[in-house]
Amino acid sequence: MHIVIVGNGISGITAARFIRKRSDFKITIISSESKHFYSRTALMYIYMGHMRFEDTKPYEDWFWEKNRIDLIQSRVESIDFNSKTLSLDSENPMAYDKLILALGSKPNKFGWPGQDLQGVGGLYHIQDLERMESFSKGLQKAVVVGGGLIGIEMAEMFKSRNIDVSMIVRETDYWNNVLPAEESKMISKHIKEHHIDLNLGVNLGEIIDDGTGKASAVTIKETGERIECGFVGLTAGVSPNVHFLKDSNLEIERGIVVNNYLETNQKDVYAIGDCAQLSDPKPGRRNIEAVWYTGRMMGETVAYTITGTPIGYDPGIWFNSAKFLDIEYQVYGDVRNQIPEDQKTFYWEHADGNKSIRLNFEKESNIITGFNLMGIRFRHEVCEKWIKNRTHIDEVVSNLKLANFDPEFFRKNEAAFVSAFNKAFGKSLRLTSNGRLNKVLSFLKS
């Protein structure tokens, strides 16, 4: 049995590793981007000088040969699903018995004038980083278009090299299409405190050619304001990297359509990670979730299915995390920017304006539904268990110390949170658990 995996990001690599753990199948991974797996999320740290490219590789280079995982650096030009063959740009065609498509994403471009000029690009691949690097020498000013997670990363990258940054963000507050208003405002403020010129509620007009095919300025659509710059980062989200398969028999909408077993409409062909679009996502979940964690889970799931233990994809309770400059962000469960009708929310913010805790719960039953944290770390397993067990908000609040995951000696905020909560809801809850590790573990086992 020959398993071919196209794409060596987290989902493709996780699939390969789990297939290897569970079988002796021949495994080949094809990627045109890099020979070895590296952590895409760490690209920014290479630019900022925190790490070298080598340090972003989770496994040493000998790992792959030792685990009999063949790596081929080549681009897949087309796939013949009938003869089960891939055509590659630098190798002979390759036959597969089962094919896993883990193609990832590419940065969105919305047809802006000048979007294909030199000095314009997103941040997704190593090649994008190399482009940024090649334009950074002597760069005075950069513009970042888009207010998502990659936009803020790009702004931070440029700032680390003392390059001025303007952000053009469609939303009225940073990432408020995802974050609730208070958190979104906190981040907007934090961005401005870092001397990043944050333009909210505006769109990119055009990118202006300097006459040699290079970007030299952008205009803001609404105001016509012109911002001179030597680089334009496009970070208005990503979409599945599936264009080269558009004309094939594979069913593609935005992404490659897969059922709950991550199977496509073609026999023995699976799709996972950013490029997969679930035909029947779980309630409250999007059909494409381009995040690290879901990619990893899909890789694991497909490996079980391929090795003879078919498992339906279950992403579990939603969680995510990010870091906005110096503020860490974690979310567990259902926390939307607009609180749904049947939910209540309680938001507490530290006086320093850089930390907050938000708990969402059902209006009728007072069952916890979600946690949103800024600048405070919570335990994944504890939050997940409370949500899974449909725990009453009062019990969550009184045991909040069990969830805290901040480093030792950090000032604890649970007491302040509880008293604010009591005040808001006229309750008299008291903190019971002390939050020591043994207590946490016995709670998790209970």
């Binding site: 740290y45 694991e300 498992i311 335990r379 994944h380 020591r436």
Partner: protein
């Protein structure tokens, strides 16, 4: 403005470093009958006679020209007295008061160099102290303090763009390491005129390499992570050479740095009442560096209270316990004693002279002896059971204190390859074994008075251990290699006390680094900034709690994690199952258990 102050501070620091280096060439040595400083009349006269023969008496010579001549004069005097003794020894004089034994050589050399030195440094020690230590402290603080103005948070920007901190290519590293090891051992051969132990050392190094490559199959793990092509930072090379050279002079040729020692004389005299030695110079420098670079730690990690408290702790223990208290004890006519130093790091604790000094110093001396033993057999295991080795290694220890302050800019240069880990385990446990064997032999000699055990001379074993491990490994390589192999080179590969702590931490401790469910994004910040070369990410990305013998609990992995995944914790529950290697990251369907 901030940048200007910082650059000015950097300028002051560079001036201080230049003065510090150049001042070694100042002044001259002029040996005379009156300033030789040796009280034994036979030795004094014999040395004066041979010095006169060699034409160095009452003559101005540079320090560098003077020292070899003095060595020669002492040697000649020794031979001459030896000959004389064969003929006759004056009545009522002990043979060993008359003969000049070779163990006196370095003491006399340093006395003669010290007493015959003349020049601007001796005339104006405090001026030079200000021009070197003073300017360096001032410049350092001017560079560091403005950093308190920037926003708190992890600031690792540009570390891999900086020629001082970016580390060395694998080959360049080997070019440092291999000649240093060979050089130290060959020097030891000449120093002790003994081929046996140098040869044994070479054989052991070869044996460890064979074990790592073949028994542990590291041959298959090629190429190791560390051999990835990166650039070599030229400033790191210079810093490495400077530090290595400093340690070589400090340990093995202190007479050549006599001007530095003279410079700190007034401070030593005001503290203990004694003249400064190379060890006083080192202790003073060490404490000042830990304090100034401790301030830097405070600025860098001021958002992180664990780091702040820990840094205060190492600053305190170094300054008070390792430096001031011992000096004050000496002033009070008590033994020099560092209450926080623990055998086998404190490898001479059971040496005859130490036991004798302690047992003859009244009840305080006895207390010191008992305290030292209690720390070894109760303090270490009990504290490590509750808190892990970090209570010592990154809160109390002097070596750790330097590594966590001066060494912090170099923490990323530790080798994270699996092969390095394999080397680490063989070497550090080998050193622990060597320390135990050496100490047993020393104690055997102490209690029986016999010099030979299993055909080995206990004195030779003792001095070779002191030379190779006590000076060569912990100092020259351990600290000299900060820019080359990271700030914990000694702690990771060599410290026998760390090995002892590590065994307890690994098999019987509540300490671990917990990981936060599935939140890891495998970015690698934790592994990159682990000074002990632990591949933290390997564990974090699979949600496995980390129980590693080498972890010193510095907490930086947790501090640099952008997603809140790591936390240092103490708790005994489920430690073996949560640290299990086959823990899977996230299995969601109920019918799938942990992957086995």
């Amino acid at each position: 403005m901030m940048k200007t102050i910082q650059n000015f501070g950097l300028g002051l620091f560079i001036i201080a470093l230049i003065v510090f280096t150049a001042m070694l060439g100042l002044g001259h040595q002029k040996l005379s009958k009156s300033n030789i400083g040796i009280s034994n009349e036979f030795h004094k006269n014999a040395i004066l006679a041979s010095a006169s023969e060699l034409g160095i008496l009452d003559k101005e010579l540079s320090n560098v020209a003077f020292i070899p001549k003095v060595k020669e004069a002492i040697k000649k005097a020794s031979l001459q007295l030896e000959e004389q003794a064969k003929i006759s020894i004056p009545d009522g004089v002990n043979e060993w008061d008359y003969k000049l034994g070779s163990w006196k050589n370095s003491e006399y050399l340093s006395l003669m160099v010290k007493n015959s030195a003349h020049g601007p440094v001796q005339n104006n020690p405090m001026l030079f102290f200000f021009l070197t230590f003073g300017l360096a402290i001032l410049g350092g603080l001017m560079f560091i303090v403005p950093k308190f103005n920037s926003s708190p948070g992890i600031k690792n920007d540009g570390i891999y763009h900086n020629p001082l901190t970016r580390g060395l290519k694998f080959n360049a590293k080997m070019l440092f390491l291999i000649p240093t090891i060979i050089g130290v051992i060959v020097y030891g051969f000449f120093k002790y005129q003994n081929y046996f132990w140098p040869l044994v050392t070479f054989v052991l190094i070869g044996l460890i390499s064979l074990l790592v490559f073949f028994r542990e199959k590291s041959k298959d793990n090629s190429p190791p992570r560390s051999s990835s092509p990166i650039h070599t930072g030229w400033l790191g090379v210079i810093a490495g050479l400077y530090l290595t050279g400093f340690y070589i002079l400090l340990y093995w040729a202190p007479s050549y740095i006599n001007n530095w020692i003279s410079m700190v004389n007034p401070i030593s005299e005001s503290l203990s009442g004694n003249e400064a030695s190379n060890w006083f110079l080192y202790g003073l420098m060490y404490s000042i560096i830990v304090i100034v670079m401790g301030v830097r730690m405070m600025s860098k990690y001021r958002h992180n209270k664990y780091q702040r408290i820990r840094t205060w702790s190492v600053m305190f223990f170094q300054t008070a316990f390792a430096f001031l208290i011992p000096e004050i004890l000496v002033r009070l006519n008590q033994p020099w004693f560092d209450f926080k130093n623990i055998w086998p790091l404190d490898y001479d604790f059971f040496f005859k002279y130490n036991i004798q000094e302690l047992t003859s110093s009244g009840s305080l001396g006895i207390f010191m002896l008992v305290w030292g033993i209690v720390l070894i057999i109760l303090g270490v295991p009990i504290m490590t059971y509750f808190f892990g080795k970090r209570w010592y290694c990154s809160w109390v220890c002097g070596c750790g204190g330097l590594a966590e302050t001066m060494g912090d800019p170099f923490r990323q240069n530790s080798d994270k390859s699996l092969r390095a880990w394999k080397y680490e385990r063989w070497i550090i446990h080998g050193v622990l074994l060597a320390a135990i064997i050496m100490t047993s032999m020393v104690l055997y000699h102490y209690f029986t008075g016999k010099n030979m055990l299993f055909g080995f001379n206990t004195e030779n074993v003792k001095s070779w251990y002191g030379f190779l491990i006590g000076a060569g490994f912990s100092g020259v390589v351990g600290t000299g290699f900060y820019p080359v192999m990271g700030n914990r080179t000694w702690c990771r590969f060599g410290c026998p006390l760390a090995a002892y702590f590590g065994l307890i931490q690994k098999y019987k401790s509540r300490f671990r680094i917990t990981t936060n469910g599935g939140q890891c994004i495998s970015c690698g910040n934790c592994s990159t900034y682990c000074e002990m070369g632990i591949d933290v990410r390997h564990y974090a990305q699979r949600g496995q709690d980390i129980v590693r013998a080498s972890c010193v609990g510095c907490g930086v992995c947790s501090a640099v994690c952008p997603r809140g995944v790591l936390k240092l914790e103490n708790g005994s529950a489920d430690i073996s199952s949560r640290a299990d290697t086959l823990r899977a990251i996230h299995i969601t369907e109920n019918d799938i258990k942990l992957l086995v």
